[in-house]
Amino acid sequence: MTIKSEPFVVNIGPQHPSTHGVFRLRLTLDGEKILDADMVMGYLHRSMEKLAEERTYTQNIPFTDRTDYLAAMTGNLAYVQAVEKLMEIDVPERAKFLRTIMAELQRIASHAMAIGIFANDCGAWQTPVMHMFRDREKILDLFEMACGARLTLNYMRIGGVSKDIPPEWMPMAKKLLKELPKRFAEYEDLLLSNEIIVARSRGIGVLTPEQAMAYSVSGPMLRASGVAWDIRKADPYAAYDKLDFKIAVGTNGDVFDRFVVRLAELRQSLYMLEQALDLMPSGPVHERVGTSTVQPWGQAVAPLAFRPPVGEAYARIESPRGELGYYIVSDGGPAPFRFHIRSPSFINLTPLKLMSVGATVADAIVILGSVDIVVGEVDR
C-alpha cells in the first residue's frame, strides 16, 4: 500500500527569530525535504535610493547608517569614498587611519554578532549571543567616545571624519585589544569543537568556488568557498595598504567553513588594529571640501551642500558581510542623480535556493544564518 502525499508549503517569517529581521522564506516541502525555496522581502523597504535623490550629498550620510545597522561605520565609509572618488578629494593621513580603525572595530563587533547568532540558530540558545554582546558593548563604548552615538554612528564625512578622537580614547582601545585575544581563544574553544555545531553545519549549504563567483557571492561566504579575494588586499583603500594581514580562506564552502572564516577574521582584524594604533600619525582629520568652513581651532567642517562635477563613480569596500558598493551618478546638482547601494546582504541571498533545495527544514535555518543578512540592508 502506498500513502498519497503532496507538497506542503511552510512560511518561515516574516516574524521569526531565525530570519534575523522581517524576512520571509516560503519553503515547499516533501516531508522534511525542501523542494523549493522562495524569498519574500521588502518588509523593511524604505526606498532610500529615491529619498537620496532629494537630499544633498552630506545629508545622505545618515542613510548609510541605517542600511546595515550592525556595521554603520563601513556603510559610512563606502559612501563617502564613492563621493570622494567622484570629486577627486584626497583625505588626510590621520583620517584614513581613523577610518580603518573604526571599520575594523566594526568588523569585530559585527562578526561577533554573526557568530553568536549563528550559534543561536544551531540551538545554543542565547548564551553565545550574550558572550558576544559583552565584547561588542566595549566596542560600542569606543564609538560613543568618538562620535556620541552607538548604533547609527554618522561618523565619517566627505573629506575625512566628523571629529578627532578624544585623548582618553587610545588607552581604552589599547586596553580592549589586550583583553580580546583571551576572549577569542575562549570562543574558539567553546564553539569550534562543539559537537552540535559541527554536526549541524558540516557539509551543509555547500557552494563550490565556481558557483560562488557566478552567483556574485562576496565576503566571508566567498572566502569560505576557497576564493582568496578580499578587497582590502586586492584594492586597498583608506590605510589598508600600510597594514599586514592574511586572508582567511575556507576549503569546503559549507556552513561550517563560513563560521570558521568569520572566527579567523576576528583575529586578523585584531592584528590589523594593533598595527594601526601604533602607526597612526597626528594631523588634521578633515580636508576642505567646496565651501567647507574652518573652525577657530583649525578643523575643517563638512559643508551641507556642494556640487560635484558631472560624472559617475562606483566605490566598493570589504564590509563585514562582503562587497559593499555605492554607485553615484551626478548631473552637477547638489543631490545625487542616482544613488545605488550594492548591498552584500541582498546579493549573497541569490544562491539561497541553490543551497537549500534538497536539505531539510532545520538545515534551512542554519543556511540562512550562515549568510549573515541584515534585513535593513537587504531591503534598503
Binding site: M41, G42, H45, S47, E49, K50, E53, E54, R55, T56, M213, A214, Y215, S216, V217, V227, W229, A234, D235, P236, T291, L304, A305, G311, E312, Y314, R316, E323, G325, Y327, V329, G333, P334, A335, F337, R338, H340, R342, F346, I347, L349, T350, P351, D379
Partner: protein, 173 residues
C-alpha cells in the same frame, strides 16, 4: 591595486571581436548594443585574457531621455574591473537582454531594477517584483514618478541657502 579598464579600452576590445557592437564609449564606461550584449559578456567572462567571472553590481538608471543598465564587472585573476552599459530608448516599456545566462548573480539584481524602474530583462526566468507587491502602481525610481505640480520632476535642483547661488522667489528681496 585593482586596475580600472577604461571605457575606451574595453570598447576597443569589444569592437575588435564583435565589429559594430559598441554604441558609445566614455572614459568611465562603454555602451554595448542590446542585440550583441549577451555574446560580448560571455566572451568577456570566458576569455582567458579577460576572465570577468564576477558581476559586482547591476544598476538601472533613468536618464530621462533613455534608460540604461550599468554592469560593474570584475576579474579576480587579473585584478581588473570595468563598467559596461546597455541602453533602451523606449520610455513606456524599456527592455534589455537579461544577464542571467552569463552570471546567475544577476537574478535578484535584475528583479530589483525591474521592480523599481520597470526595465524588462528579456530572458530572465523569474522576473517578478521583489520589494514592492504585484499590482503596485508605477515604478518609484523613475524620474517622472509622482511629478510635482506643474509637471516638475522630483529631485533637488538647488539646496536652499547654498552659497554662491542666487535664491529666486521667496527669500530674495
Amino acid at each position: 591595486m585593482t586596475t580600472f579598464v577604461t571605457g575606451l579600452e574595453i570598447a576597443h576590445l569589444i569592437d575588435g571581436k564583435f565589429p559594430g557592437a559598441v554604441e558609445d564609449a566614455q572614459p568611465e564606461f562603454a555602451v554595448v548594443k542590446p542585440e550583441k550584449l549577451v555574446e560580448a559578456l560571455i566572451w568577456l567572462r570566458d576569455d582567458d585574457d579577460h576572465w570577468y567571472k564576477f558581476l559586482s553590481s547591476l544598476t538601472g538608471v533613468d536618464r530621462i531621455d533613455w534608460f540604461e543598465v550599468a554592469y560593474h564587472i570584475e576579474s579576480f585573476k587579473h585584478n581588473r574591473t570595468t563598467t559596461l552599459k546597455v541602453r533602451s530608448n523606449d520610455r513606456e516599456n524599456p527592455s534589455v537582454p537579461s544577464a542571467v545566462p552569463v552570471w546567475e548573480g544577476a537574478q535578484l539584481q535584475e528583479r530589483e531594477a525591474y521592480d523599481l524602474l520597470g526595465i524588462r530583462f528579456e530572458g530572465n526566468p523569474d522576473l517578478r517584483r521583489i520589494f514592492l507587491w504585484e499590482g503596485f502602481a508605477g515604478f518609484p525610481l523613475r524620474k517622472d514618478y509622482l511629478n510635482m505640480p506643474g509637471g516638475q520632476m522630483a529631485g533637488l535642483e538647488r539646496f536652499p541657502g547654498e552659497p554662491g547661488v542666487e535664491l529666486s522667489g521667496r527669500g530674495t528681496e
